[in-house]
């Protein structure tokens, strides 16, 4: 392909995007678009899968059967979300196993929020309310992403996610209305998860170098800071309503901008956790690795059985 032909293809590609025509798997696309999507979707998939671990930690200790059934259903949903997303990466020609190996080797990232420990039952509430709440803010605009399979996976995910947030809020609300000890437990979970939840939206816009290209390709449709602000604005009144305090002395309503102003986010902590030094990074990756290694014999046995059946039916 000559350079002229390539730039003509790229021009037509951008024109389709500008006209809101979705890109589908077999369509021509620039290599950098494909690579960006594979990176983003696989990181998203890894986040869903690793995200099962902090909550899985409490399934056997849920306070009653209803809570246990709900948590189990939520964690099962996260597994489903991971699978939709790994399938979407495969439509781009990514090798699924290699994608997973990249997670295990540390080459691929996942949302840093899942590197924080879940110390009490209230953390199940904080995660559903704040972490799933932030995830919804991020994922809703992705339903309009330019890449068809990713957008469709997001529609499905968003539909399922709203129960996740509500069940978390319900846990927080009930604890906040409970005994002083229960309320303290809820407040403590909010204290620990508030700032990491705000970090889920990623660095400030002026520190986010790849955003402009992703916006142009309509992979990303809102900026990190816009989404973070939206999350803060809807969440602060929810906390007030259930009598919990947002752990930010600088938080205040700005009558001029009609938004809440917040204190400084500790970006040094964010980068520490992203770079592998959070409280649970090693534990999370080790859990994924051992799941893969310990399950190897099951996958092999299933293959052997399938081959045998095929041979029998010939």
């Amino acid at each position: 392909m000559t350079e002229d032909q390539l730039s003509e293809l790229e021009r037509k590609f951008q024109e389709r995007i500008d006209n809101d025509v979705k890109i589908e798997p077999n369509d021509w696309m620039p290599d950098s678009y494909r690579k960006t999507l594979i990176r983003q979707i696989s990181q998203h998939a890894h986040s869903e899968i690793v995200g099962m671990l902090p909550e899985g930690n409490w399934i056997t200790r849920a306070p009653n059967l209803r809570r246990k059934a709900v948590l189990l259903a939520k964690v099962q949903d996260e597994a489903g979300h991971g699978l939709y997303l790994y399938s979407a990466t495969e439509t781009l020609g990514a090798d699924r196993e290699k994608t997973i190996d990249d997670l295990h080797s540390g080459k691929a990232k996942y949302s840093s929020i899942f590197n924080y420990p879940t110390l009490t039952w209230a953390d199940m509430g904080a995660i559903g309310w704040l972490v799933d709440g932030a995830a919804i803010m991020n994922q809703v605009p992705l339903c309009r992403c330019s890449y068809g399979p990713y957008a469709r996976a997001m529609v499905r995910v968003c539909k399922e996610e709203s129960f996740h947030q509500r069940q978390g809020f319900e846990i927080m609300m009930q604890l906040a209305q409970g005994t002083p000890e229960q309320k303290e437990m809820a407040q403590d979970a909010l204290n620990r998860f508030w700032w990491p939840a705000l970090m889920m939206f990623g660095p400030n816009d002026d520190e986010s170098p790849n955003s402009a290209q992703s916006m142009k390709w309509k992979i990303k449709r809102s900026s990190n800071d816009e989404l973070r602000q939206l999350f803060i604005d809807v969440t602060v009144p929810q906390a007030e309503m259930i009598g919990l305090t947002i752990p930010d002395p600088d938080l205040k309503w700005n009558e001029e901008t009609k938004h809440y102003d917040i204190g400084a986010i500790d970006w040094a902590e964010f980068w520490e956790v992203v770079n592998g030094n959070g409280p649970c990074n090693k534990e999370r990756i080790n859990a994924r690795k051992s799941a893969k290694e310990n399950g190897a014999w099951v996958r092999e046995a299933a293959n052997a059985y399938a081959e045998k059946q095929k041979a029998k039916n010939k």
Binding site: G93, E97, P149, N303, Y305
Partner: protein, 108 residues
């Protein structure tokens, strides 16, 4: 006829003992077509259908599932879709709006 293999298939080899890829189709209710919803990996068709149930119908989205191994799917070539579908675009007389019906004619 221009055709291309579904590109996903490039990765459908069973490297590292990887299970084959399946395309999943779901009938959401009696009277509607099965519709493509996504794909998944499974070692055989029984596992593919059970996994499809768990992955794609957790909220009662289906009453019937089809699975097809992805490497059995052939696709028209999207790069010359314009030419390929041109015969339909150029025959506007196939549509009822092509014809003039005078006022006063009813039931047509």
């Amino acid at each position: 006829m221009h055709m291309q293999k579904n590109k996903k298939l490039k990765t459908n080899k069973m490297s590292n003992n990887e299970w084959p890829l399946w395309e999943v189709f779901i009938r959401s209710k009696q009277g509607l077509n099965h519709k493509h919803v996504g794909s998944l990996r499974a070692s055989d068709e029984v596992m593919a259908i059970e996994n499809a149930r768990d992955v794609y119908t957790r909220r009662s989205e289906g009453i019937s599932i089809w699975v097809v191994e992805s490497n059995s799917v052939f696709a028209s070539d999207s790069s010359d879709a314009d030419e390929f579908f041109e015969p339909a675009d150029s025959k506007i007389y196939r549509h009822p709006t092509f014809y003039d019906v005078p006022d006063g004619i009813e039931h047509m």
